[in-house]
Amino acid sequence: MNTQFVGQPIRRVDGRLKVTGGARYAADFNLDEHVYAVIVNATVGLGRIVSIDQAAATRLPGVIAVISHLNAPRLAYHPHKGAIDPATGERLHVLQGDQVRFYGQPVAVVVADTLDQAERAAAALSITYAAKRPAVDPSASDTTEIMAEASKGPKAYYPADTARGDADAALATAPVRIDAFYDTARENHNPMEPHATVARWDGDRVTLWSKTQFVVNEQAEIAAIFGIPTENVQVISPFVGGGFGTTLRTWSHVTIAALAARQVGRPVKLALTRKQMFFTTGHRPRSLQRVALGATPDGKLTSIVHEGRGETSRYEEFIEALTAGTGFMYSCPNVRTQYRIVPLDTGTPNHMRGPGEAQGMFALECAMDELSYELGIDPIELRRRNEPEIDESTGKPFSSRSLMPCYDRGAELFGWAQRNPAPRSMRDDREYVGMGCASATYPVLFSPTRARARLLADGTAEIEVAASDMGPGTYTSMTQVAADALGLPLDNVRFSLGRSDFPPAPPHGGSQTMASVGSAIRAACAAVLEAAARNREVRPIEAEGSAQRDPEVAARFSMHSFGAVFAEVGIDSDVGTIRVRRALGVYGAGRIVNPRLALSQCTGGMVGGIGMALMERTMLDARDGRLVNAHMADYLMPVNLDIDRLEAHFVDEEDPHVNPLGVKGLGEIALVGMAPAIANAIFHATGTRLRNLPISIENVLTA
């Protein structure tokens, strides 16, 4: 493999556009004659719309249409399950009936000549409801946990139940035991760019300039909802202002934008407000977990029990990897996992950076830390003593696993040896200082992808894939891959993405873009070189290539990334404020295509983990399901001054099995492990074990 550019710290190719304001996000597209749509959201958490009085709104200047279930056309809503949609249940059918399933559900849309007019009219709409009390707290007695359909059976991707040995019996007889409950908060992705869609119909064809991490799914879904051929929908999404999973699915506002545009016969721009994003664009579900560990006095695990519950909506069964890491992280003869979901009167959750692993590994890694203190064994040493030879949950070897090299490198860089193992033993002036660590993991995913490569007469090349770049640097890394594959300088390669008429790519999530899209681009480049060699006259000449994982290799190996995360916290001894003084992550993630980009990607994920640990929590009012803090002043996430020294490092790891590029992905694993490392550091600083996230001043003070 030619690696002139792959592996090099190339500057991002879209940098200039982004620092000059030239990158165009969905809401930046202004069409001639477009009008504005504003969604009206339910102000009850469960019930039925009794009446909508739109007389006052309709009279306001500039108002073109008020659309609700009373007058909206029945949409086809043909069956459609995208790769990211919950396998069981049916998406919200928007403006199709009087039922209100959750607080903030769209119940009407107002279209007006200007945004100001649409806002005014939306506020003037008078809607009455017959409200019932919603169930929004998964720990409350009025909720019932269920086994998700898609998690039933041993072959399920996220099985409801797994077991090897007899974990409960082994736990009962274990010489040393830890058994504790963990609670992680509901979170919202909160990318900086709010969701937006600009929709324009030309006859029975619609073009959507839309924020999405999955353009071909948005295309297929809108086609299914409107009952039109897939090729009649064009989705354009050149830049995505952050996603973290929220734009993997096509949410109801996209349908509303298209519906409104069709109804009024004009292009429509619809941008969600920050508050509306909290209602209808998914969230990381709250988790309730129990982890019990049994061990011998010398620190060999004899039992792991991990029981987890997550939230879902009443109408879809959202499942994620809550207990997925537990089976293979450590060597242990007796392991039992259980995963259930709790249907609530909320919108459907969806994947948020490190989905499931972030919460599940929080519980497991805090429990491992608790066990280390119980045993009096250094937490890294405890993990070393339980390092497995193979993936014991499947019996397969790991394609590569660098957990202990990550710990060793991290311990050295972090100065772990300077840590006094006794809790509450380290102090710096007014601060109690604590150091903690935790493991991170995320599977190496791969999805079939196609790419197109075109050689032009001037010696340059164009590469096209319907991929996305929500920020990590898809534009740049794919340009590197193509330049190497074609033997061209970087400047001679132009990579385009974000159009549904390009060859299809998988969702830009699950840390699989580099592997999947990169491999397809290599294949396309090889194909076009071959075609060009056969036909030296015709230019431009183009070819497509595709990539999929060799099923035989996939069946032979267990493929995951691993990492070790370290955090040092300072706790103000008087007031309990918690400061992350420094943090460091070391990752074994296969080949690093661009170290310059990888570094930011990882530190960004670590900040997300700091937010999860100390700040982020979406609060619901149990009386009516209202979101209490649905804006940025009250939904806290880290600002610059909350961060001090952050470092990310990579161990050399060659993995020939995962994919042709040998890359394992970074986006998700960078968040996983940070929260438990911080919680473990807080224990070390204070001697108090805090198992609910986010951990706040009052938890420290009242503990």
Binding site: L115, D116, E119, R120, A123, T273, R274, K275, D574, V575, T577, M615, M619, V628, N629, H631, A633, D634, L636, P638, V639, N640, L641, D642, S696, I697, E698, L701, T702
Partner: protein
């Protein structure tokens, strides 16, 4: 999301602003820096309202020493408070408070008059006025009157201002020889409103401690102040804050935490003024 503004007029001068206010019979609001007002209009928390923009009224700006008072015009921006030599020399509590307010871009627009009229219980400047025993200079159709800070802040987001009155300035007693001042706060996150804060004015004649974020208005901790003046230790004084303050449980923090933070702040502020 659009500001719920129902109308807008730029006031040419102070009499014009007052006459607009009078004519609007309570349905218009003064637009000064707008950093809270426009935010609340954006969130549609305030309903549609007409706006009287006073940003062009030059006589509302400026900081000057008038006898034993520092007169600060209502339109003085937080940034100016933070950088003014007069403020730093004569009312250091305000100089310390200004940089704690939000972030640079907000401080460039936000004004002292706006902050006092908005009367957010977690805001720094109302507590400064209270601790410094400042007078709020208020003008309406009937003329000018002065309201002591202790009488000005009536309740949550509620002041003594009549609907046809506006703040034109504040008059703050300057620090006397030997006087020390300290403004401190604790927030969950940098730049956020404080969970609890203190403005301590430590005069040879007696101490004044005003707290913010621990009740519906800024609160003078009279019990603790009297104890300090009697020679009580900081710990003893801090113990009395439970009777002085009225913290509430809310989405940001439980009342008990706020009270605890207030106690710590009192000890720290005393340590700072008496070090």
């Amino acid at each position: 999301m659009k500001a719920a503004a129902a109308g807008y007029i730029r006031a040419n001068d102070l009499p014009h602003a007052i006459s607009l206010l009078e004519q609007s019979r309570g349905e218009a609001r003064i637009l000064a820096g707008g950093q809270s007002l426009i935010a609340s209009l954006n969130l549609r928390l305030a309903g549609e309202t007409a706006l009287i923009d006073i940003n062009g009224v030059a006589e509302l700006s400026g900081i000057e020493l008038v006898g034993e008072q520092l007169r600060i015009g209502a339109l003085t921006r937080h940034r100016e408070l933070a950088s003014s030599d007069l403020v730093a020399r004569h009312v250091p509590a305000i100089a310390q408070a200004a940089p704690l307010i939000a972030h640079a871009a907000i401080r460039n627009r936000g004004t002292i008059g706006g902050s006092l009229a908005y009367a957010d219980p977690a805001a720094e400047l109302p507590a400064c006025m209270l601790a410094l025993d400042a007078q709020i200079v208020v003008r309406g159709p009937a003329g000018e009157r002065r309201v002591r800070a202790g009488d000005f802040f009536v309740d949550l987001f509620t002041t003594d201002l009549a609907e046809d009155e506006m703040i034109v300035a504040v008059e703050v007693p300057v620090a006397v020889a030997g006087e020390r001042q300290a403004t401190m706060e604790l927030a969950r996150r940098s730049g956020d409103y404080a969970l609890a804060g203190i403005v301590l004015v430590d005069r040879p004649s007696g101490v004044r401690a005003a707290f913010f974020g621990v009740g519906p208005t800024p609160i003078l901790a009279t019990g603790a102040m009297a104890a300090i003046d009697r020679g009580a230790s900081p710990d003893e004084a801090a113990a009395l804050l439970e009777g002085d303050l009225q913290p509430l449980d809310d989405v940001h923090a439980p009342a008990a935490v706020r009270l605890h933070l207030a106690r710590v702040l009192l000890r720290r502020a005393l340590a700072a003024t008496r070090s």
